[in-house]
């Protein structure tokens, strides 16, 4: 897809490895607590609602709606300086958690409630980048 990944790569530790491994398999996971039922993102070794350590991975459908967004026109950081303008967003997944992401669409096409789905980009840097794209290019009615 691209010759070299110049943006920052995640630091992965033993606690968070399963999240990134799932992405390599083209799946995003959130977590559900076996004790209290709470769901959460980002990935932890315990439930941040009740502190139970009995948490399980729940693969998400990958579909959601843009909860908020901003088009970045200036970012001097390595890997992003040449990419502006690009869209950062918070996407509310169908499962009810809000995750950060980029929207692979022209800035003028992005609006609150735009329906999006995940696709997975091999960075060539040893990890997989989750990227949202519009489902039909139109905000949900």
């Amino acid at each position: 897809m691209m010759s070299e990944w110049t943006k920052p790569s995640p630091t992965i530790n033993e606690e968070t490895r399963a999240y990134w491994t799932a992405l390599d398999g083209h799946e995003m996971v959130v977590q559900r607590c076996r004790d209290c039922g709470a769901i959460q993102h980002y990935y932890r070794a315990f439930c941040a609602a009740c502190w139970s350590t009995e948490v399980q991975d729940v693969p998400v459908s990958g579909e959601g709606r843009v909860w908020s967004h901003s088009t970045i026109w200036k970012n001097r950081a390595k890997g992003f300086a040449d990419e502006v303008p690009y869209v950062v967003a918070v996407v509310e997944l169908a499962e009810g958690v809000r995750v950060f992401g980029n929207i692979d669409a022209p800035p003028e096409d992005v609006a609150i409630d735009l329906r999006v789905r995940l696709k997975f980009v091999d960075t060539g840097a040893g990890w997989t980048f989750p990227l949202f794209e519009p489902i039909d290019g139109r905000p949900a009615a």
Binding site: Y19, Y42, S68, H69, S70, I72, K78, I112
Partner: protein, 394 residues
């Protein structure tokens, strides 16, 4: 009324007049601010038995964790009580609160709160992501290219969506701040601007343009917080700490709502402050509101109860936060025009004191006797804290 109300006062306040300080260093800059505050109070270095300063990282400077002990050594003082709690720009409000509690507990009688940073001279980009991401939480967020202003862009997008605040109303915030800065000889930028200037300035992170973003200045300030006994024997009128409150928010396991959580966080801090002070919103003669970005102001005014979500756009758009408006906000020009080296909270407290004394370098609100400060700060993205203060003369 809470027993902590009116038990201590800001007795000395000083904002360094320099906004560009290429010839000095952070420690010497901090010394000059501290000396200015002590002279303003009429106190000696030996009177200080508490020191509060933030561990600076994002805006540069030599003092990381351990800053309070290192600065004590440099200043040649030996305080009993130290604190360097870090909630970003709201840290200084936290220091006033901790000073008030330590004074009440008999741990301390007279605190110096000091800050100096030189990101402008050091050419530091405030809010840029570090190259090495922390596994948690940065790796889940910063891989997407989210500069600090990008968070506020998303916050503004969402707040405008739920409140109906218009882009033009939002632009009135930097326009008003600049009109105040025009009257302040120390402010970094003093040329008046229009709504068209704001909307015509380069877009940084939509919907925010360059003039929606705070200045990056060098800056230093200090205040002295003293107990009742000291406050009553000094020459200048004390700015009594009538009430204070604080609250935090975070990402809530990926289920936080940044708009509602921000408004309720500020609301919780404000409720604490107003309840402690025993005064109402209508008693406030001026407010200093943390304005790192234009959108901070309407959200803080709503959160603190000075407006409702339905009325805040009208209040701002109709001149309500101007120096002659119903609630003058940031009479010195704020972070948007006067001074913002990375953390602004201390300058807000200094300006509040100046308004109570009628001795601001710029605009003065005639007869101001009760002033509120509404600060927000962050560790990263929406891991935020708020500190609200009500200061007053007797």
């Amino acid at each position: 009324m809470n027993r902590l109300s009116r038990r201590c006062a800001i007795v000395g306040a000083y904002e360094h007049p320099l906004r560009k300080a290429p010839e000095t260093n952070e420690l010497l800059f901090a010394f000059e601010a501290a000396k200015g505050a002590l002279e303003d109070a009429g106190l000696e270095p030996g009177d200080i038995d508490g020191l509060f300063t933030p561990p600076m990282t994002l805006e540069g400077g030599p003092l990381g964790p351990g800053a309070a002990l290192l600065l004590s050594d440099y200043l040649g003082i030996r305080p009993r009580f130290l604190d360097e709690s870090d909630v970003g720009g709201a840290s200084f409000g936290y220091y006033v609160n901790r000073a008030a509690m330590a004074i009440d507990a008999g741990m301390m009688s007279c605190a110096l709160i000091v800050y100096a940073a030189r990101p402008r001279s050091g050419r530091r980009g405030i809010g840029a992501a570090a190259s090495e991401l922390r596994a948690t939480p940065d790796s889940f967020e910063q891989i997407y290219g989210l500069p600090l202003v990008g968070f506020y862009g998303m916050l503004a997008t969402r707040y405008m969506h739920v409140s109906g605040l218009t882009r033009e109303q939002l632009a009135q915030v930097p326009v008003t701040m600049r009109s105040h800065a025009a009257l302040n000889p120390d402010a970094l930028y003093r040329d008046r601007i229009t709504i068209d200037d704001v909307l015509g300035s380069s877009e940084i992170a939509s919907p925010l343009h360059m003039l929606d973003c705070c200045v990056i200045s060098d800056g230093a300030a200090a205040v002295v917080v003293a107990n009742e006994e000291i406050a009553r024997r000094l020459a200048k009128p004390p700015a009594w700490v009538l009430g204070f409150g604080e609250a935090t928010m975070n990402h809530g396991r990926g289920q936080g709502d940044w708009v509602e959580d921000t408004v309720s966080m500020i609301g919780e801090a404000a409720r604490g402050a107003f309840d402690m002070a025993g005064v109402g919103r209508g008693d406030i003669d001026a407010a200093m509101v943390y304005d790192a970005f234009s959108v901070n102001v309407p959200m803080a005014l709503e959160g603190a109860g000075f407006a409702t979500r339905a009325t805040v756009g009208e209040m701002i758009g109709g001149g309500g936060i101007g120096v002659d408006g119903e609630l003058p906000v940031n009479t010195d020009g704020g972070g948007l025009s006067s001074n913002h080296p990375g953390r602004r909270g201390l300058f807000m407290l200094v300006e509040a004191v100046r308004q109570l004394r009628g001795e601001g370098p710029g605009a003065c609100v005639a007869g101001a006797s009760t002033v509120a400060t509404v600060a927000t700060g962050a560790a990263s993205v929406a891991r935020r804290a708020s500190a609200v203060h009500i200061l007053g003369v007797e």
